[in-house]
C-alpha cells in the first residue's frame, strides 16, 4: 500500500512536471555563486525575464567561487533534466567544456553569462566588458586628481578574469592617456575586507604623496575606504570603487568615496534569459552581448536606473 502510494505520488509529480515543462520552455541557469548580492541581483533579472517571456528557469550556483567541482556537478544535474537552453557563468573557463560539448550534442543551446568560456559552443556570452568599465574608472580617477600624481590599485586577485581585466583596463588606460599619472602600487587582498584594509594602509604609508586608490571589487573598495578613514586621509585621497554594497553607497553619500563603477547584474540576468529564448527559437545572436556598466556617484545614486543595479 505504502509502496503504491509512493509510486503514484512520484508518477503524479513526473506528469505534473512534464506538463509544466511542455507548456513553458525550461532554462537551466548555473551561476558562480548564490550568497553574493551580485548573484542575487542577476537572479532577480533572470526571474523577471522568465516571467516576461513565459519560460521556466532554475538558478543555482556553488557557495564559493572556488568550488569548480561543485559547479560541474550542478552542470551535470542540469543536463540530466534536458533543458531547452543552458545558461552558464563558468568558474573555470576550461573545466566546463566537456559538459558544454555534451549539451551541444544533445542540441541544447548554451549561453554564457558574466564570463566567457574557451570554446565556440556558447551561442553568445552576456557579460560586463570589465576592461572598458575599468578604463572608465581610470578616466574618472584622472579627472578627480587633475591628471597628475600617484595612484594605487587594490585588486581582489591576480588570477581571475575579472581581477585581471579590471586591473589591466585601469592600468592601460592610465598608461595610454595620462602620462603624468604614475601607478605606484598594485596589491591583491582576495576581496577580503580586513586584509584589503590592512594592505591599503600599507600602500598609503609607503606612498605619502598618493592621490588616489582604485578598489577593484566590493571587498577591495571597502578595504580602501576603511584605510583612508583610519589613516585620516579623508578628502586627501580620491577613492574609486567597483561593484556595490551598503558601505560603498554610504561612503559615496558621505563623500568618502568619489564614485564607483557598477555592473548591471539585473540587466545581465535579464539579457541572458532573453538570449536563451532567442536561441531556442533559432534566432541568430551576436557572439558577445555587453550588459553594460554604470558610473555612480553622489549626483545620480538615487536615479532609479542606477538604483536597481545597486544592492545593499
Amino acid at each position: 500500500m505504502k509502496r503504491f502510494l509512493i509510486v503514484t505520488l512520484i508518477s503524479l509529480f513526473l506528469i505534473g512536471f512534464s506538463i509544466t515543462s511542455a507548456q513553458r520552455p525550461y532554462i537551466a541557469m548555473i551561476s558562480k555563486g548564490f550568497q553574493h548580492q551580485f548573484w542575487q541581483a542577476v537572479k532577480m533579472g533572470a526571474e523577471k525575464a522568465a516571467k516576461d517571456l513565459n519560460v521556466t528557469i532554475t538558478f543555482e550556483g556553488p557557495e564559493s567561487e572556488a568550488m569548480v567541482d561543485k559547479q560541474i556537478e550542478m552542470l551535470q544535474a542540469a543536463l540530466a533534466k534536458k533543458p531547452a537552453a543552458l545558461c552558464i557563468a563558468a568558474l573555470d573557463s576550461k573545466a566546463v567544456i566537456p559538459y558544454l560539448e555534451k549539451a551541444h550534442s544533445m542540441g541544447i543551446p548554451v549561453i554564457g553569462f558574466d564570463s566567457g568560456v574557451d570554446s565556440d559552443i556558447p551561442v553568445t556570452t552576456v557579460a560586463t566588458d570589465n576592461i572598458k568599465a575599468a578604463g572608465y574608472a581610470a578616466d574618472m580617477m584622472a579627472k578627480f586628481i587633475n591628471r597628475v600624481g600617484e595612484v594605487a590599485l587594490v585588486v581582489h586577485d591576480q588570477t581571475s578574469r575579472t581581477g585581471i581585466d579590471r586591473r589591466d583596463g585601469f592600468v592601460n588606460r592610465i598608461k595610454q592617456k595620462y602620462p603624468l599619472i604614475k601607478i605606484v602600487a598594485i596589491q591583491y587582498g582576495g576581496g577580503d575586507h580586513l586584509k584589503s584594509t590592512d594592505l591599503a594602509k600599507a600602500i598609503i604609508q609607503a606612498h605619502p604623496r598618493l592621490k588616489g586608490i582604485f578598489g577593484a571589487n566590493e571587498g577591495s573598495a571597502i578595504g580602501v575606504i576603511n584605510a583612508v578613514r583610519e589613516m585620516n586621509k579623508v578628502g586627501k585621497i580620491v577613492v574609486i570603487g567597483y561593484d556595490s554594497g551598503k558601505q560603498q553607497i554610504d561612503a559615496i553619500k558621505s563623500g568618502l568615496m568619489a564614485g564607483a563603477i557598477t555592473q548591471n547584474p539585473v540587466g545581465m540576468g535579464y539579457m541572458a534569459v532573453e538570449a536563451a529564448v532567442k536561441a531556442i527559437k533559432g534566432e541568430k545572436l551576436p557572439k558577445f552581448i555587453d550588459s553594460g556598466f554604470y558610473w555612480y556617484d553622489k549626483t545620480n545614486i538615487d536615479d532609479p536606473k542606477i538604483k536597481q543595479c545597486l544592492y545593499e
Binding site: E63, Q158, L199, A202, E230, Q247
Partner: protein
Amino acid sequence: MAEKLSALFSKSGLRQILMFASLFLLFAFFSLASPNFLTYENVIAILLATCVNGLLALGVTFVIITGGIDLSIGTVMTISSVMSGVFITFWKLPVFVGVLGGILTGVLAGFINGTVISKMKLPPFIATLGMMMIAKGLALVVSGCKPIYFNDAPIFNKIAMGSILGSIFPGLGEFPNAILWFILFIIIAHIILTRTALGRYTFAIGSNEEAARLSGLNVDKWKTIIYALCGMFVGIAGVIMASRLNSAQPALGQGYELDAIAAVVIGGTSLRGGEGSIIGTVIGALIMSTLTNGLRILSVPQEWQIVVSGIIIIGAVYLDIIRRSREV
C-alpha cells in the same frame, strides 16, 4: 650545525630572547629599507592588523599546547560576528548584549568541539573540521547570506575603532581601542596559562595525557573547558573584527585559522603539545603582520610575500624539531 643550533635553542628563556631579537631585526631591516616604515602611524597600523589574528592565535595556543588543533576558529569567528549582528541589528538588543552574545557563540562552539573530542573521541582535526563547515553554513543561514551592518548602533564601531587612549593623551593621536583590548586579553591569557590550575592542566594534558589521567586529572572535563576557552577568544576576535569593519561579513573568515596557527607555531608553541607560551604567540603574530606590512611597504609583489611567509613558517618549525631532537 644542527647540534650547535639545538644547544642554543634548548633554553626556552634564550629562545624567547631570540624571538624578540628576530622581531627587532625585522623592524630594523624594514626601517632601513624604507623611510615610510618606522612611523608612529605605521606601527599603529601593524598593531591593529595584528589584533584579530592575534586574538585567534591566543585562543588556539591553549588548544595546541594540549596537543590538539582547532581548525574551526576562522569560521567560528565569522558566526560570532554574525550573531552580534543578529542581536544588535535584527533584534535591536543593547550593544553589550550583542557583544556578549557574539562571545558566547564562540564559547558554545568551543564547548561543542571539546565535548565531541573528549566524549565522542573524535580526533581534534576531524571534529573541528566539521565545526568549521557547520559554523560557515550557519553564518550564511542566520545572516540570510547578506552582510549585517551596525549603522543603527554607532557605539559598536567604537569598541574597536574608538580611541580612549587618544582622548586621554591627545599626543597619541588615533590609538584604536582594538589594540587595548588585544593587550588586555594577552595579559588575561598569560595569567590563565601561567598562574592558574587550568594553565597547569593544559601543559599536563599536552605533555602526557595518559599520565595526567592516571594522576587523577579529569582530562575530558578540562579538555572541554580548554576548547571553550579557545572559543571565547575566537568570539572576542569576531566582535573586534565586526566592530572594525562596522559589519558582519558572513563569507569572511575561512583561511584565518591557518594564519593564526602559523603565528602560534612561529611563536615557538610545539604542534606536538606540552610546550608553548602566550608571549611567544604574540611575538609570532607580530612577526607575521610586521612581515606582511613591511613587504607591502617595500612593494614586494604579493606572490613573493606569500612565499616568504611560507619559508618563515617552515624555518620556525625546523628550529622546534632540532631543539626537540636534542632533548630526546
